[in-house]
Symmetry: C2
Subunit: 332 residues, 2 copies
């Protein structure tokens, strides 16, 4: 019904029934941001002004090539919509794989997807026309720029340091997607030429091998010194390394310096290519705090052209919510 | 006068005088592309359909901080306009330095400029409102995409291998400028971690140190082998290295392989960041021909994620005209 009234028809007045219907639909406009991960799907219900009203999550059912995932998403949104008796005006979704600007996901190993036209399928399942789909790291970058560590900027590069290294680039407010949806894959840029071990992608010397939580632990274990307090820890974590460094452990400080060198130089390379306003560093590793930026920024400045020096470096602020914020931002 | 007629007014007919004026202004619309270099300024006069009608050049007068350059540009355009008795509908300019999207040039050592608002100044000098300014390497990339080696693509990365290594990135038909006008500075991305010599920029291990004409000669001289035919040449050039490689000289083949490794890996890094459709390789070095792509492409494919493999590699086709084509493309 609502679609039958062209924009501007309100100015012509109308019967009481029409007036009521218009009022009711205007009062209850909601937007949904969703973030599909390998174990859970996170949702946020937002007002039309971008306020988060409610968060919830459901499990990711990855069996049978993840065929239930999108119908689960649609059903969960419909349930929340019905509770509020409102209209869903837009749905934004982040997915863990390369995604084109048309909303086609090319591959998502984490949720067992091959090529899936997510946008089309969700439009069919929900009846909502305004659906946008993006890669999760890109979408998280958009969220951090909108409401988190990148607030106030228009062009940012975000790196997410977790089990792997994700990246998202926003230029002039828009996600840099790339033709195969592989824009912003900073974790697999090459930063070392003498690496003998292989990265998860099959390459050698990828940033991910040095700057992810896994990579930091790998570096720390590799040449462990007996006089380091890390040597006494059975199964060290990236947090252990940063904690030891903060307490002055020389070997831990060395590892953190190496981490800073690899990440700082990788971001310098990225700056020569896209020249952003700011860098935002997120993911579990970034919880170590300011020690991250203190070790990264000097190596960045040492490795960029003069015009690119002194960019802003910020820590991410939204944690796991960056995805739902960025997702909804695409449709607001 | 003409500005007084809103679009579509032609449909309403009009008096004879108005009809004549409209006809005359429509018949003589020209567009200019200009490319400002350290020794000459190249110009192209184009039709409204983008056909090159005439090329010419004037010297770059760099004395007194290059203060005459823009008035020389304006005078030269006016002279050609008067000869044709036409209207200049747009002027695009490429300049050898970082340039913002607003047309402000931040620094141009080659022509002795500090910060210059090129767009504003040229609008004042010529009375033409439609003026666009871009960095010369970015503008050349746009030209190659429009009429040269990148034809048929919408998103390309171009590297120009000359005395230095320039770069230009076009995504979705638009130049990636960057906030400080330093987008696409591929020549100063780091590709080696063990370099002892310093790049012109002050850094160490920049792509330019291995993939420019100067860099290729530097590599060749560094560990010259007595059994190479290159050892007999007093002052070798990059062309000598490629010529010797084509004739099977083992040392020259080794140097060309090293060149390919550095450039291929650098382009792999760029692909992980912007994920283009194609790469275009230009500049004096690219005149060596297919040997360039044969040595670069395998290293590229070895160093990218699966989704980024098998991009198109092309040689540039417009030579020194890429700048005037790209410049005019900005205003057409």
């Amino acid at each position: 019904m609502k679609a039958g009234f062209p924009a501007g028809v309100e100015d012509c007045g109308g019967g009481e029934e029409i007036g009521k219907e218009r009022l009711s639909t205007e009062m209850e406009k909601f937007y949904v941001g969703a973030d599909i991960g390998g174990t859970t799907i996170k949702f946020g219900m937002f007002s039309h002004t971008g306020e988060l009203m409610e968060k919830w999550e459901i499990p990711s059912r990855v069996e049978n090539e993840g065929e239930s995932i999108l119908s689960d998403v649609a059903a969960s949104i419909e349930e929340k919509r019905a509770e509020r008796d409102g209209n869903i005006m837009g749905i934004g979704i982040g997915v863990p794989g390369p995604t084109t600007d048309d909303g086609v996901v090319l591959k998502c190993p984490n949720i067992h997807w091959q090529v899936v036209d997510v946008r089309k399928r969700l439009v069919e399942l929900t009846g909502v026309g305004n659906v946008r789909v993006g890669n999760d790291a890109n979408v998280a970058a958009l969220g951090e720029m909108w409401k988190g560590g990148g607030r106030g900027f228009d062009s940012i590069v975000m790196v997410t340091l977790g089990t792997g290294v994700g990246g998202g680039i926003i230029l002039g407010g828009k996600i840099l997607t790339g033709v195969m949806g592989a824009g912003g894959e900073i974790g697999h840029t090459k930063v070392a030429w003498n690496e003998t071990e292989t990265c998860g992608c099959g390459g050698k010397g990828c940033l991910e091998q040095y700057a992810s939580a896994t990579g930091i632990v790998r570096m720390a274990k590799k040449e462990m010194r007996a006089d380091s307090r890390l040597a006494a820890i059975a199964d060290i974590t990236a947090k252990d390394v940063f904690d030891a460094a903060k307490e002055g452990d020389a070997y831990a400080l060395h590892i953190v310096d190496q981490f800073g060198m690899y990440l700082g130089t990788a971001l310098a390379n990225v700056a020569h290519i896209v020249d952003p306003e700011a860098f935002v560093i997120g993911g579990g590793v970034s919880k170590a705090g300011d020690i991250i930026i203190k070790n990264v920024e000097p190596y960045y400045n040492d490795n960029v052209l003069f015009a690119l020096r002194d960019k802003e470096f910020r820590l991410a602020q939204l944690g796991n919510d960056a995805g739902i914020y960025g997702a909804v931002r695409m449709v607001l």
